[in-house]
Amino acid sequence: MPSGLVEFGLLLLSFAVPLLAVLIGLPPFLGFLANKGWTSDDAHKNPPTKVPEPAGPILFLAALVGEIVVAIGFRSWVPVAVILGAAVAFAVGLTDDLFVLGGKTKPLLLLLAGVAFVSLVVIVPGLYQPLITFPILGDTAPHFIIYTVLAVVAFPVVSDAFNMMDAFNGEISWFTFLASLALLVGVSVHAAYRSGFSLARVGATLPLVAVAAGFLLFNRYPSKAFDGDSGSLMFGAMFAGLAITGGVEIAAIIAIVPAILNSFYTLSSVRGFVERRKMLSRPTYIGSNGLLYPSTEPGAPNTLVRLVLLAGALSEKDLVKNLIYLTMAACLFSVAISVLTWVI
């Protein structure tokens, strides 16, 4: 087990390698996508522009390289489990990018990401602690079966929640970056205040932060790249796996409350899993002045974006800023929960 400076160097590498992989790998890949005509309409521009999609394959490769660095450097199975779950989610997302899966098929297939992740418990019994630690109140008793079932279910829930936060320029990259930073703080505080907690679990979080940070430079307004479902589902699966292995479930849920609310609003207003391309009415529309307005149709699906726009019409850039404020608030509360859980 490495120690001191070596550990610090490994942590630095597990951040720098995936970040550089995105920064170096994405521009030529975007050129390749554009040459092949693999682009999508940036629907919230008037007139719509074409943006290369999906950038997911490069994002996954960058995360994979980062997790390999952590796995070899710290000789840990944790990054293997995390990237295994992410790989399944990435494969499901890429299939959806290429062939369009049904609204119900995607979450069912994403259960396989959870199954792949928990199956590694056979090899690594200490992959996760089957208990929840609450702020101030402390640990619950271990409940292996119920915890494992919930861990499997968490993968489609969290992945779909991330996927639904992927509608506007910079929305998914900002959201993933901020949520993964809150997660990193939680896992780091956990590692600092509980003895026997491996630093590899902190290291495994860094590739997600790095990939999201790198992608943010391309995805922010005006977007030069869209991640596609392959990217957003992979981000969600990685986040779920890292929250479980990091033992920071509560703080992680709090950090992604905007996405959970967004999924809940959408699912409850369209009454079930409906592929977004097949929704009968849109939650928002673009006015002739280029601003986004909330739909006032009674049957329009409620999304977080519609609720934000109900407070006033906004440009796409300002709308994403507002979504970032909501995410920041959730992430700050998540950090407070982590401190209350592990420090006090």
């Binding site: 709090i254 409350v257 809940f264 601003l291 109900l310």
Partner: protein, 85 residues
Amino acid sequence: MKMKLAPLFGIEAVAFLLIIGETYLFFNFVVPLGPIPHSLTVYTGLALLKLALIIALVAVWFVVMIGLTRFYVGEKLRNAPKPSS
């Protein structure tokens, strides 16, 4: 604009406070509920009771969130912005 988001920050806060509270109830009271069952009848009864409690916890979250959202949407739709054209 940040002040206009205040109601949504409130909904967010209610959502995560409910999540923390209900997760605590679930892991500390619902999951370990009851004695070790000695017969199939007791086992089945206990399982059904736990299932009912889980559904109740989820239902509370849903009802509160739907109630808050409907109130917010209803209030805002009365003064919904219209396109300039």
